[in-house]
Amino acid sequence: MKYDRILIRYGEMSTKGKNRNRFVVRLKQNIAKKLASFSNIKIEYMRDRMYILLNGEPHEKVMEQLKTVFGIQSFSLAIKCENDIQQIREAALTAVQQNEYEGKTFKVSAKRVDKQFPVGSSELNYEIGSHILRNTQNLTVNVHQPDIHVRVEVRKDGTYVTCHDVPGAGGLPVGTSGKAMLMLSGGIDSPVAGYLAMKRGLEIEAVHFFSPPFTSERAKQKVIDLVKKLTKFGGKIKLHIVPFTDIQQTIHRQVPDGYSLISSRRMMLKITDLLRKKHNGLAIVTGESLGQVASQTLESMFVINDMTTTPVLRPLVSMDKTEIIELARKIDTHDISILPYEDCCTIFTPSSPKTRPKREKVAYYESFIDLEPLIETAVANTETWVIDEAFTSADEFENLF
């Protein structure tokens, strides 16, 4: 007998009533994609949990991958056996013995879901616990704070034994909440916003504004690298790269200094919204946090948001910079974000942008220029890349490694 499967417990989606099946199916798809490189595994799913049958695949590696899948509350390595007290005792003992148990404490919690099973749960606890005690050395019982928590569940289809729960990524399966466009600059905030959006089940497509020659190829590469980091959580992600030079230059020429930044932001939002419509999204996600910089005061948000009625989701709005940085480190985007290349946020920044812009004034300044055709061209010339974890833009390097 040995650990042959991984038991997956769902997150809060187990409360989602009639929609639940959709959530579960989506989670199964997401897990299957994530584990595509392990060709032998099989995924079985039920209403309240999922099992990955390992069929000889290395469980350490599979479990490492599972940690990044949203919609999983926790998972454990499990042994399945028949509903037979002799077998259950053996399975529980094997489960314990595969841990480093010497000098540790344990506890058994048996659960009899299948009420047809003749042995009650407290009797099961006793049977299994004493069997483990008899066959191990230097292992004692502690029912309050055990090092090893042996959980035994007798169900209709068989009995499952687990010893150790690994916390999952939580959240909802990516894709179950619909699609949104993520405005991705290359800074620290926007990738974190994307991560949080995906955690709530959103599928995201990233939009990046590219202003050559003012922003370099390196800035573009940086965004690709960031998206690549996010694909770890969301599978394939589309990245739309919008040529923004003409619009930015036009604004810079026509709109007074203090307002040029706000105006650029408005156009970015407008273009993102057009892309959203084109790609059937229902929301826009940004990395804005309240009061961080000039364009993120409430007044600025009000003026920028004026361009659309589409919901603009700002997952970071209540977070401190230090909290955002901590998350960025956790999802491994921080070190890419801090690379010092000019991006759409840093170039063309006026020395003293208005922190309290007026809607009427922006509209007035913008009324002197006709940005519509420029916006149409930008949308038409947007480049779209599909990025996954193995993506490399430089295929020419392929044979070098």
Binding site: S216, Q221, A394, F397, N399, L400, F401
Partner: protein, 380 residues
């Protein structure tokens, strides 16, 4: 040709040479340059770092590319000693280290550091309890090689790591030049802080090496300047050699996956055949030794003449380590193992790679017997 001196250097993989050529001709830009050519070189460098980190099971920002093993060892030892000299001035290493570890330690001694050189037993392995006893309040660095370059003895790195885990102020450096892709070593599991590797020992090209520098450890840079290699090692990066090294590392790990058992079998066979020759005494211990190094003595016969005799048959072996073979000193490791001077002076090293063939053994053995015979006639 039968090449049996793979611990001195290996024959570069043709694939690695191809990568070198392509990068050196097409992507010769300086990775720090702003233009496209510079950016491509930078991408190559970063991709190398990612792949190397992946292969070694560490993070990309823990990989520093150097010019080779000697630089990486010097950097690790002097860099750590200088960085942490406020904490103390005591360093522990072994009596059998490669000169690129031993000499920096001597230099540090001249600068006022104290160095303890741990002895080894007759199998070439240090005593972990002795190491534990040598640790003092002022100890800042422990440097122990994984696989010895002269006899192939494997040090208990994981146990040392466990021991040093209880001394968080001590930096743990491992010279893994001979071991990488031949003797597995989990850098994280062994709690290693610094680890040295060299490209040309695993079929890469000379001029590139790796220093693993665990996150959280700082080193005082040896080479100050433009701040390349994460501000740790200045100097324009040798991108072509680094890319070639990365490829060679991947291929060598793949060879390990497929042929680890084969290499062991090869060594076993060598040892069996060598043991049959009366004038040969094996120095490589049967246990805890690497699958690619075999050291033996010629019963007092001059090993240098022996090397030249075999070379006439296009068979290439080595006296001691390549670095000290020109100095005509008896093998340091053998002396430390308690082998008598005469035996240590007549030591010969055969070092294998995954490229070596079983068919070479009878041919080489025949030549060895012949050479010994000839030497005996001359010297007696």
């Amino acid at each position: 040709m039968i090449y049996l001196d793979n611990s001195a250097t290996t024959k570069p993989f043709p694939e690695a040479i191809d990568s070198f050529m392509t990068v050196a001709t097409k992507y010769f830009g300086n990775p720090s340059s702003l233009h496209e050519l510079g950016m491509k070189a930078e991408r190559l460098l970063e991709q190398s770092r990612e792949q190397t980190a992946f292969l070694l099971g560490v993070k990309p920002n823990e990989i520093i590319f150097t010019s080779g093993g000697t630089e990486a060892n010097n950097f690790a030892i002097k860099g750590a000693a200088i960085q942490y000299r406020q904490r103390g001035n005591h360093i522990i290493t072994t009596m059998i280290e490669h000169p690129s570890v031993a000499e920096p330690c001597r230099q540090l001694e001249q600068m006022g550091f104290e160095v303890t050189y741990l002895p080894v037993n007759e199998k070439g392995i240090i005593d972990i309890d002795e190491l534990a006893r040598a640790i003092r309040e002022e100890t800042i660095l422990v440097s122990v090689m994984h696989v010895n370059n002269e006899v192939g003895a494997i040090q208990p790195i994981e146990q040392i790591g466990q021991l040093l885990k209880q001394h968080p102020k001590i930096v743990f450096h491992v010279d893994h030049v001979q071991g990488v892709t031949k003797v597995p070593l989990d850098l994280k599991k062994a709690h290693i802080d610094l680890c040295t590797m060299s490209a040309h020992k695993f079929h890469g090209l000379r001029g590139a090496g790796i220093l693993y520098l665990r996150n959280g450890i700082r080193l005082s840079p040896l080479l100050a300047g433009g701040g390349q290699e994460l501000q740790m090692r200045s100097g324009t990066e040798n991108v072509a050699a680094i890319v070639a090294m990365t490829k060679a590392l991947r291929l060598s790990f793949a060879a390990f996956e497929q042929k680890a058992a084969y290499l062991f079998a090869l060594k076993e066979r060598w040892i069996q055949e060598l043991a049959k020759i009366a004038d040969i005494q094996l120095n490589t211990p049967a246990e805890h030794s690497a699958p690619h190094i075999i050291n033996f003595s010629l019963n007092g016969l001059k090993s240098e003449v022996f090397v030249h005799e075999l070379e006439k048959q296009h068979i290439f072996v080595s006296t001691t380590s390549a670095c000290s073979s020109k100095k005509r000193t008896p093998s340091k490791t053998l002396m430390a193992m308690g082998v008598d001077q005469q035996k240590a002076e007549s030591a010969v090293r055969i070092s294998l790679s995954y490229e070596n063939k079983l068919e070479e053994i009878p041919v080489a053995i025949h030549a060895i017997q012949h050479a010994i015979q000839k030497l005996k006639e001359v010297t007696r």
